[in-house]
Symmetry: C2
Subunit: 606 residues, 2 copies
Amino acid sequence: MFEAHFQTFEDASERAESAARVAALRADLKKRGLDGFLVPRADRQQNEYVPPGEERLAWLTGFTGSAGSAVILLNRAALFVDGRYTVQAAEQTDPAVFEIVHLADTSPDKWLEANLGAGAKLGYDSWLHTSEGAEKLANACVAAGATLVAVDGNPIDALWRNRPAPPSGPVVLHDLRFAGESSADKFKRIRTELTKLRADVLLVSDPQNIAWTFNIRGNDVAHTPIPLAFALLPKEGRPTLYIEAGRLGNNVLQAVEDVADVRAPDALTRDLSNLKGNTVRLDQASAAHAITRLITDAGGNAARGPDPITPMKAVKNKTEIAGSRAAHKRDGAAMARFLAWFDKEAPRGRLTEIDAVEALESFRRDTGALKDVSFPTISGSGPNGAIVHYRVTRKSNRRISKNELFLIDSGAQYQDGTTDITRTVVAGKPTPEMRDRFTRVLKGHIGIATAVFPENTSGAQIDPLARVALWEAGLDFDHGTGHGVGSYLSVHEGPARISKLGTVALRRGMILSNEPGYYKTAAYGIRIENLVLVIAEPEPKGAERPLNTFETLTLAPIDRRLIDVKMLTPKERAWLNSYHKRVRDVIGPLVDAPTREWLKRVTKKI
Amino acid sequence: MFEAHFQTFEDASERAESAARVAALRADLKKRGLDGFLVPRADRQQNEYVPPGEERLAWLTGFTGSAGSAVILLNRAALFVDGRYTVQAAEQTDPAVFEIVHLADTSPDKWLEANLGAGAKLGYDSWLHTSEGAEKLANACVAAGATLVAVDGNPIDALWRNRPAPPSGPVVLHDLRFAGESSADKFKRIRTELTKLRADVLLVSDPQNIAWTFNIRGNDVAHTPIPLAFALLPKEGRPTLYIEAGRLGNNVLQAVEDVADVRAPDALTRDLSNLKGNTVRLDQASAAHAITRLITDAGGNAARGPDPITPMKAVKNKTEIAGSRAAHKRDGAAMARFLAWFDKEAPRGRLTEIDAVEALESFRRDTGALKDVSFPTISGSGPNGAIVHYRVTRKSNRRISKNELFLIDSGAQYQDGTTDITRTVVAGKPTPEMRDRFTRVLKGHIGIATAVFPENTSGAQIDPLARVALWEAGLDFDHGTGHGVGSYLSVHEGPARISKLGTVALRRGMILSNEPGYYKTAAYGIRIENLVLVIAEPEPKGAERPLNTFETLTLAPIDRRLIDVKMLTPKERAWLNSYHKRVRDVIGPLVDAPTREWLKRVTKKI
């Protein structure tokens, strides 16, 4: 009936192969005179989702998580993962080959410092590490009396039979009716920033920034519509986009060539070598150390720092904001259909986590506008809901039982906007504890949704508003409250975020998530997530500073059965009732009659 | 009648002398082959209050503020000050000699980069700059094609006739009944930290840390009872305290020599030169660059970072906490007498800001326990209250008029504890706006006072609770909400603070200020400050994390005439009433009958 096109539920680990692959790699390292090699889960642009041919870490170790790295020495090998992945890594890897190291205990550089012998030569692929990362490794080698050696060509690529080819799919225009600003105008603004930064050229290595600047989109990785390209943007003269011209249709090529040159990817290294005497601004978060080296070897000055495009992209223009509002209406209608369906089906006790994922994606596809899901849906019933980054597989799939909480965190890629929403619902009757916890999370959610704060306030400064109701009960959640969201781009976008690390000011036009939660290990998880837009707050009389607040973009009911109404303040109750009225008024006309009836019922005043 | 012993109201600027002094300095620089010289407002230990002989900046420029620096080139001279001091600097300096540069516009290193000629030699005294500071200056010189040169002996000292001699007053023991922990036990704990830091020796350059570690106090600078000494604390073997033994009475010398060696200050440089092969931990915030150089020149390894003593000192032990509570009762009684006196006298319209300072200090001296004020009292009526760091002088002294707000921020040094309190009161009838603003500041104060937060929460994470009520009206205050406070030590103590920069976790036993404010330029200032102690909050049922909260230490009424009661939530009103009941119950028995009657009246339930 329902099916998922944009995510799978297979556990793709090739754990059984890893012993032989590691042995082959070691043989190759010996031939090269190396004592070890680093295998990060990274491509050349530090993307969150990487193309299949860049999944070297999974190929070698069996571990398929989205973050981690391995160190292969001649006589031992370690896989480094964070708290999200320690269980999965242990399951997916061969304990005879890999020891699993928790990043909270030991970082790869500390481990190398302790385990590399004096005189050892450690190889690494300088295209897969940022300069900061490479410097850390080099320091660790120095401390161990060893040497870090950049290899020529990644040895894994030669060993990997049937390694998937690089993406070659079409690149399309992101039409002005979605983008709202021409490339030429964006170039102008970027050049102003380059002047301020005293840079001659900007190397754009983050494909999200390429996509935004050139108003193009691609299909090179899952869930984020980016083309894997680079660009050079000089303060004077035409920019160059490095991508196979054949991947651009005639109309796309023409549009890009109106304002920039298009050159083959190979030309990048040659062009970087011609920047002698130039100060080249590099994105410290995505530029490979290989690029820094190419520039400095050629006598250029590699100036590392944040890419000035990142904060420009984060502030959405009127067109992008209108697009996001439209996308959220569409997505809200699909969510309403899903939640109504769930309410009807779940009490029968037959639904599984995968059923829910497939139904939700199907409802979204029914809109006719779904390009992709913006990330693999997190669908966790009961104890699985407490695993913050849970991804359901055929093996982990769990029936959604009566009176359990069910958490579903999902998002869509539409051409006019990217969405990200989490709802927690109960199939049956919640315990008083569940209602207490849910209501505290809701109070935090409303604390952010209704926050009023002066211009230049950072996300860190409002983050506690999402937590105080939990703190009072001796509870908290161990993730940020919100991340930036792109406009038909990555669902995780910098530079702003709502978290104690979010030191960037929240600017009008930024879209962020508002997603406090609570997780009771081995029992249940709660998260309530809407996307919010930073907007101006009308200034009260006597105000001395411009004020901002949020407009909530996401439109879907919040499960009233889970709310302990007497814990809400009048102001909080008013927010919930007015939000639910908006959901009813805006989404009601977009759904079928039974869903509309359901919607009326679940958005009633409390 | 009343008088102040511990602060003066003179404007001590020697502005008239500065042209001649600068000319003499320039002549000396030429002799030395230098093209310029740096004059920071700093002593060898980066103290907040410095001895008179270290006031080189004031001697040379006329500017007597507590922060700033000057650059003297052969043909021009600049004085750098922050926003607090731009008006004062302009008044106190000769415009024919000095240009005033606002630090917000240009830092000294940026200014040097632009104004030093290529080939220039810029002199500096490496004892008066931290290594980080010296490195910034060196980089600026490199950028300008100039050279930074460490001078031998500060040239100002030779020119300064009748330069005050270094402090030579007695150093006393800080008795165990105040300190609560022996030096020997403190050494043990510090050595454990040194092992973790992989350091062989700790150089203690912050006199507050010396005072804490050795359980001694001094009288070398105003307002902070520190002896200006250094110490070396090896991981193994006896520590050495560098101070003139003659300044220690027999009992003090004996107590110190029980656990450490005492050597003359001169011996420090010699001993630093003997640390070849040792890793010496240096406090990055207070250690002079001269020290780094002595160590590295001798083949030692200067490891810069935070002094491990600083976070240990910040967590007060039971004895120190009991002392602080006692100090606050004593201080609260003096404050009650002062506020009662003010209420009686102020409506006659004859009091001045200086009268208030003198009365308050006199009431504190009447306790028989006052050792010093913990900083010069800020006493600002009307528009002067809006100047955050206002210091009243004979010239600025203002009559406290009817219906104006009066802000008084003061503190005391008692042997058992250091206090810091701000009250804002009205002599007459406040405007509705004043009451609105005062009530918002009070809501912020109560927000901090009643905050409940998990262990490991930083000051930054609770800072917004002091601001949301102001934000909602488009208002804010441009200073942190709170700073750490020492135990008969500095009223400004690291490492924790409540501010957006306060990333250090708040630990049980820390004492901090809680001082939100609001300042209407040229009209009035409001601040409500109590000291608070971080304590454990009883854990509610089902709590998963240890919780902390604050105990308010300061005991003095908050002006109820300035409160708009209907703006307070029931919880806020309850806090105020219970606080006032505590003030009445605890302070009432300590004051004379008329003050007690007054106290009853002003602490009535609202």
